[in-house]
Structures are given as structure tokens and as C-alpha cells.
């Protein structure tokens, strides 16, 4: 069930009605409703994978509960190990089994050893990387005594499977979301309205921006051998906006839907393409994952403390793991490595926390520098996105070679019966809107809110891509 489908609209209307009208004064029933509807939502894809969520939920619930009762360090470590083994074991099997087998065989083949190829036909369960990290955060926080374990299995189950953010985040921390299931819930008009506005803005980013870009991206990346330099460069830019519109659009919808149900989720994107350096980019892109890795991997490894060698090691570990989290392909690992390389100079020069405040520009030389830095960061990001989008590292290198080999910068007519440059106008308008609203979460503020809302809805209707139904990219992770 996709957010941009009629079936989801009907599903959410029904849930909303039952939640606020039938079970209005009973938090317990409301949570039960959320749990059941979350399982229906997930089972819509493949009911068999529900068992994985239930296993993760039960294991972490009981590990957490037991951790709350015992004090011995060794037993606590064993319990944490049990949770890590089950969760990472399931993730590893479903996501990485074939990757490791194939690479293992290839590695031995380099030494002349032939091994039997026996990969399995494994379907990747939707959202497994997201809910695994979410449930792990609970166990780790309980282990670290940073939160008390819950005794309510319904609340915990709902926290793990909460349908607005189940399949593509934001990856919520137990400390933040779990207490909300126990708190009193009052319907707030302002909160629900702001949630609905965010859903509309998210739909615009997905259906208009991401899906339009996808039309171009697919043609350029699938036929890069026939593309000229301008098409290839634009292909990378289009992909940058496809993945941003797609993923941040999904996050906005998730946050908006949650707000309509009385929950507050963390912000996942904060206009990342206006970042002035790559460190700032990672503070603004997929914030829930970046902060997860920061808190549960980077800081435990020592973070930016210790020797220079350790600092470099930690940066590479976090970015390589982050790349690998996205998928079992070397392309993601190279993408992670590139980001590590971009980040390294900032870390070594101790400039990785320079741009912490919001961007402001005035008519001054400083503003030119700011804009230049933003453009430079965007170019670096696009370069890395080429690896992220390509089928293999070889394809990505061939794509880049083609950019440099082709000196043709003319506007190319594509097989989709459109000129390459046409989507660019739409992107420029979108960038303009985002620039003016960069200190807000959506454009519906200030004066003429209703007019702005109607304009965006009109654009969704007339510019949306409905003929080619596109899944959200991050579902595959």
C-alpha cells in the first residue's frame, strides 16, 4: 500500500475515523487500532514478512524487559548480544546473503578456486532496514540505562510497526516515540492541519518533482552510452532531485500523517541541497539515519576524538556502513567512501562544524562565497549520486568516462519524446520555492495560505506523473 495510492487514502480515512471518533476516549483501544492497522498496512505487501516484525518485536520487548530487571554486566551484555544477533542476523540474511556469497565465490575465483554458486531467491522484506534500526535503538538505550523498558507489549509493538513511518522512516528513537504511545492524546486542529499541509507538500515533492525527474533519469542512466555530455550531467542533477523529492516527500507524508494521529516524528530532511559543505549536508540529509549512526556507531568508536588515525578510521567506518546499509551492492559502498573522502578534509582541518547556523544571504561578497560553497557541495553530491544510481561500479565509471569523452553540450531529444532540458525549468522553480521557505518545513505559512495550498494542489493535479506509477526509492532499502 503506497502513500500515493487510492487504497492508502481509503485505509487512512478509515483509520482516522475509527481512531478519533470510535476510540476517541480510550488510548488503549487507539493503540490497538494502530497496531492492527500497521500490521494490515505491512501485510498488504506480503503478509509472510509480518512474522519478521513480530519476531523482532517480541525479542526486543523481552530483552528490554529482562534488562530492566538484572544488573549484572555480563548477563546484560549477553542479552544485548542476543538482540543484536537476531535483528542484524535477519537483516543480514534477507539483505546481504547473496551479496556475500557472490563476492566470496568471486574472491576465490581470483585465486583459481572454483566454488559452486548457490545463491537463494530471497525477496527483501520492505522496510526491514528501517524497523530493525528502530527496534535496536530501544534495546541499546535500555542497555545503556538511557531509558526505562516498557511493560506494555501493545505500545512497544506499535512503536516498532507504526505504519506512517514503518517502511521508510524517519527512524525514530524509542526515547522519543515510545512515550508518546502512553501519553494523553487530544485532537488539535492546528496540529492536524499542519500535518495535512505537510502531507500535501510531500505528495507534491513525490508525484511532481521526483516522478518527473524519474522519467528523465531512467532514460539517461539506462542509455548512457548514447547520451551526450549535457544529458549525462543533467541526468545526475535529475537523479539528485528524484531521490530528494522521493525520500523527503515520503518523510513529509509520514510526519504529516503521524501529526494527524497526534504524534510528533523527528524531522528527516532540512533542505540538504542548500548545504555549504558536506558535513552540513549530512546534518540535513536523512537526519534520522545520520544521527542513529552518530549515536550508536560513531561516538562509541571514539568519534572525532583520539588520534588522527582513529578519527579517519571512524569517518570511513561510519560512511562505509551507511553506504552498505542502503543496499548489497558495491555502488553504495563506493558512494559511502566518496562521502567519507569529501568529509575528511573538513575533519582534519577541524571545519566540520563550521556551518551550524541557518543560511542567510545579503548583497555582499560573503553571500557569493556562500552560494559558491552551496554549488560546490551540490556538485560533489551529484558526483557521488552517479555511483548510487548506477547498476554497477563499472557502469558508473563508464558513465563518467562518457561525460568527459563527449564534448557535445547540445540539447538532446530523448526517446520519451521530450527534450532533455524541459524538466530543468520545473527544477529551477522548485529550487526557488525551497530557497524562500528554507527556514520553514513547508510553504503554507504567512499570508495567502489557502491560495498557496490550492496552487500546490493544482500543480499536483496537472503536473503529477500518474501514468507510470513509481514506488518510493527507499522502499528497496
Amino acid at each position: 500500500m503506497l502513500f500515493n495510492s487510492l487504497s492508502f487514502l481509503l485505509f487512512f480515512v478509515l483509520v482516522f475515523f475509527l481512531y478519533w471518533f470510535i476510540f476517541k476516549n480510550n488510548r488503549k483501544y487507539q493503540n490497538c487500532l494502530l497496531l492492527v492497522s500497521s500490521y494490515i498496512f505491512y501485510g498488504w505487501w506480503d503478509w509472510r514478512f509480518l512474522s519478521l516484525i513480530i519476531i523482532s518485536t517480541l525479542v526486543d520487548f523481552y530483552v528490554g524487559k529482562t534488562l530492566g530487571k538484572i544488573a549484572k554486566s555480563k548477563q546484560r551484555k549477553l542479552l544485548l548480544l542476543l538482540s543484536l544477533s537476531v535483528n542484524i542476523g535477519l537483516l543480514g540474511f534477507f539483505k546481504y546473503y547473496n551479496f556475500f556469497i557472490e563476492n566470496w565465490i568471486e574472491a576465490w575465483a581470483n585465486f583459481g578456486v572454483t566454488m559452486h554458486h548457490s545463491t537463494l531467491q530471497i525477496i527483501l522484506p520492505v522496510g526491514i532496514s528501517f524497523y530493525t534500526f528502530q527496534t535496536l535503538s530501544y534495546t541499546i538505550d535500555v542497555y545503556r540505562d538511557q531509558m526505562k523498558p516498557t511493560n506494555n507489549i501493545i505500545n512497544f509493538g506499535t512503536y516498532v510497526a507504526f505504519f506512517p513511518q514503518l517502511v521508510a522512516g524517519p527512524i525514530e528513537r524509542a526515547k522519543r516515540l515510545l512515550p508518546q504511545f502512553s501519553a494523553e492524546r487530544q485532537f488539535s486542529f492546528e496540529q492536524a492541519k499542519s500535518g495535512l499541509n505537510l502531507v500535501i507538500w510531500g505528495l507534491f515533492k513525490k508525484i511532481v518533482i521526483a516522478d518527473t525527474c524519474a522519467t528523465y533519469v531512467n532514460v539517461v542512466f539506462d542509455n548512457y552510452e548514447q547520451m551526450n555530455a549535457l544529458s549525462l550531467l543533467l541526468g545526475a542533477v535529475y537523479f539528485a532531485f528524484q531521490i530528494y523529492g522521493d525520500f523527503s516527500g515520503y518523510s513529509d507524508i509520514a510526519i504529516g500523517l503521524s501529526r494527524m494521529l497526534g504524534f510528533n516524528l523527528m524531522r528527516n530532511f532540512n533542505y540538504p541541497y542548500f548545504s555549504r559543505d558536506i558535513a552540513e549536508f549530512w546534518r540535513r540529509w536523512h537526519i534520522s539515519l545520520s544521527t542513529w549512526f552518530r549515536d550508536y556507531l560513531y561516538i562509541p568508536l571514539g568519534g572525532s576524538r583520539g588520534s588522527t588515525f582513529n578519527q579517519i578510521r571512524n569517518v570511513f567506518v561510519i560512511f562505509l556502513v551507511s553506504g552498505f546499509w542502503h543496499g548489497a551492492n558495491w555502488t553504495f559502498i563506493v558512494w559511502g567512501a566518496l562521502n567519507a573522502l569529501y568529509f575528511l578534509p573538513l575533519l582534519l582541518l577541524k571545519r566540520n562544524r563550521t556551518n551550524l547556523v541557518n543560511i542567510s544571504t545579503q548583497s555582499s561578497i560573503k553571500s557569493i562565497k556562500t552560494v559558491t560553497n552551496i554549488l560546490l557541495t551540490f556538485v560533489l553530491t551529484c558526483f557521488a549520486w552517479i555511483f548510487f544510481r548506477s547498476e554497477s561500479v563499472g557502469d558508473a565509471i563508464a558513465y563518467l568516462k562518457q561525460v568527459f569523452n563527449s564534448s557535445d553540450f547540445t540539447m538532446q531529444y530523448l526517446s520519451i519524446e521530450r527534450y532533455n532540458i524541459e524538466a530543468f525549468g520545473l527544477l529551477l522553480i522548485f529550487i526557488g520555492i525551497e530557497w524562500f521557505i528554507r527556514n520553514q518545513e513547508h510553504p503554507f505559512f504567512g499570508r495567502f495560505v489557502k491560495l498557496k495550498l490550492m496552487t500546490i494542489i493544482l500543480l499536483i493535479i496537472i503536473l503529477g506523473v500518474y501514468s507510470d506509477h513509481n514506488d518510493f526509492i527507499y522502499f528497496q532499502f
Partner: protein, 294 residues
């Protein structure tokens, strides 16, 4: 909650108004605009348009019959209404539109080959017909029988434009509104393809022939009922065509069927195994004029 429901109500109402208004605007633009596809061109024809020869079929007609050459050599007016991907049900709809608009024509040529085995209709033709779903009975009937989404297209405002945005969405409606000319000259209807086929290119006809095709039966019965002089023919294929015996079976099923599948024996005249290139199309058109006494 009351305020929120009012807010939702306002949004739903606004969306409904937008859908109705947009549907009206798009449909009006398509109804009044200069033709940008063959469906629109046929709809624009009327009793004053007297034609000698009409060619109907798929791209194997569109890229093959050089109507200008027919006019040059015979002085007769011919039109190529071949449309990429068109199947017999689409051809049937085109024929009905010509009849509805009282277009006078002396002889009809219908492409007949593997399309006899094909059911259904072309996505492209269906999309291009959608703006006229409420105004043209032949189109409405055609869509009713060929599109499972007919009811949604018919009753839900703007649904047809949203789900076919690629062909009749904002981009196309804008081009129609500013009267941007199409690349094809519809008066002749011929669309040349250039280049030569790869030496190893081939094409395959079906092994078996189906017992009947409803689209064909309807076309044939319309022609019989209205005394339309119809010729069914198969345009040339390259030398690497497999299962040629299929055409013999087709000849047994259709009385006035002429097989030109092997009429061009040099593959240099093909763009691919099923489509003649510009030179091949001219050569075949001249052959057709001679063989059929046009």
C-alpha cells in the same frame, strides 16, 4: 475536530471543482485545436473531403504508403491513416469515424498480417481518442469495448488526462492550445523512416492463425453493408521472415486478400524486418499502383 473537518471539506470541494474545470478546459482545447494526431485529423474531416484511396493500419502502413507518390503518378487523392501500434479494433474505430463524418472515399485498403491474431487495441490510439469520449459515439463505443477503465474515464472528471499525462496531459494540451504543428503532415499521413536494417535482423509471424478476429469481422461487415470497395493486403517483410505459411492461412480466410510480403526482395529497402525505409516505401508504393491499377 469540527474545524478540521471543515478544512478537509474545503480541500475536497476545491479539488472537485479543479477536476471539473480542468477537464472542461482540456476537452475544449482538444475539440477546438488544430489536429496533432490522426484521430483528431479524421474527426476534422467532413463531407467536403473527397478521397480516392484510404489506407488503414499500423506503422506498417504509416511508414510504407507514400501517398504523395500516388497523387503524383495517378492524380488521385490518397490518405495514409496508418498509426503506430494500431490493431484491427482501432482500424474499425477509424473507419466508423470516416463514415460518421460522411467522408467520401472510393477505395479502402486495410493492412492485414499478424494483426489478425491480435486482440485488443493500441494504447496510443485509445489515449488520443479519450478527449472525445463524451462527444463521439463511435469513440465512446470503441473505448467501452476496448478499455477496462472506461467507466473511470467516462465518469471521473480529469481521470483520463491524469492517467494518460504522457500523451494528453499538460504538455500536449499546451501544444494544442498554441496550435503547435505536429511533425507528421496529416494530409498525406505518410511518416518516413530512414536507415537500413541490420543484416541478421528477422521477424516472425505466428505459427498458428486464430479462427477469427472480431475487429476484422466488423470491418468487413461494415464494408459489405455500405458497398465499400475494400482490399486487404500484407505489406512487404524482409527475407528473414519466419513462418510465412501463416499468410497462406490468412489468404484462405479472407477472400480479397493480396499478399505482398515477398514483393521487395532486397533487404536494403528495409529499415527493420517489418518496416520499409524511405526508398523501399517509394518502391512498394509504385508497385502497388501498378499491381492494383490505382
Amino acid at each position: 475536530m469540527k474545524s478540521f473537518l471543515k478544512h478537509i471539506g474545503f480541500i475536497i470541494l476545491s479539488v472537485l471543482v479543479m477536476l471539473f474545470v480542468l477537464d472542461y478546459i482540456y476537452t475544449s482545447v482538444y475539440k477546438k485545436s488544430y489536429p496533432r494526431n490522426k484521430t483528431q485529423y479524421i474527426l476534422a474531416l467532413d463531407v467536403r473531403d473527397t478521397l480516392d484511396y484510404v489506407f488503414l493500419g499500423s506503422s506498417r502502413v504509416e511508414n510504407t504508403i507514400v501517398t504523395k507518390r500516388i497523387e503524383e503518378l495517378t492524380g488521385k487523392r490518397a490518405i495514409n491513416l496508418g498509426t503506430q501500434g494500431a490493431k484491427l479494433n482501432d482500424i474499425n474505430m477509424f473507419l466508423n469515424l470516416l463514415i460518421d463524418n460522411k467522408v467520401v472515399f472510393n477505395r479502402l485498403f486495410v493492412q492485414m498480417d499478424y494483426n489478425f491474431n491480435n486482440k485488443g487495441s493500441s494504447d496510443l490510439v485509445r489515449s488520443q481518442a479519450l478527449p472525445y469520449i463524451h462527444n463521439t459515439t463511435s469513440i465512446s463505443n470503441y473505448l467501452k469495448h476496448n478499455d477496462s477503465n472506461f467507466n473511470k474515464y467516462y465518469y471521473v472528471p480529469f481521470y483520463k488526462y491524469a492517467t494518460n499525462d504522457y500523451r494528453i496531459g499538460l504538455r500536449e494540451v499546451f501544444a494544442s492550445a498554441i496550435s503547435k504543428k505536429a511533425k507528421t503532415n496529416f494530409r498525406s499521413g505518410y511518416k518516413p523512416v530512414i536507415g537500413q536494417m541490420k543484416p541478421d535482423a528477422s521477424s516472425k509471424l505466428p505459427l498458428e492463425i486464430v479462427s477469427n478476429n472480431i475487429g476484422f469481422q466488423t470491418i468487413d461487415s461494415i464494408c459489405n453493408a455500405r458497398n465499400i470497395n475494400v482490399t486487404y493486403y500484407c505489406a512487404p517483410f524482409c527475407s528473414n521472415l519466419e513462418n510465412r505459411h501463416y499468410l497462406d492461412h490468412l489468404g484462405c480466410k479472407i477472400d480479397n486478400f493480396i499478399d505482398f510480403s515477398a514483393a521487395i526482395d532486397n533487404d536494403k529497402y528495409f529499415q527493420n524486418c517489418s518496416h520499409l525505409n524511405l526508398e523501399g516505401a517509394k518502391l512498394f508504393t509504385e508497385l502497388l499502383i501498378k499491381e492494383l491499377n490505382l
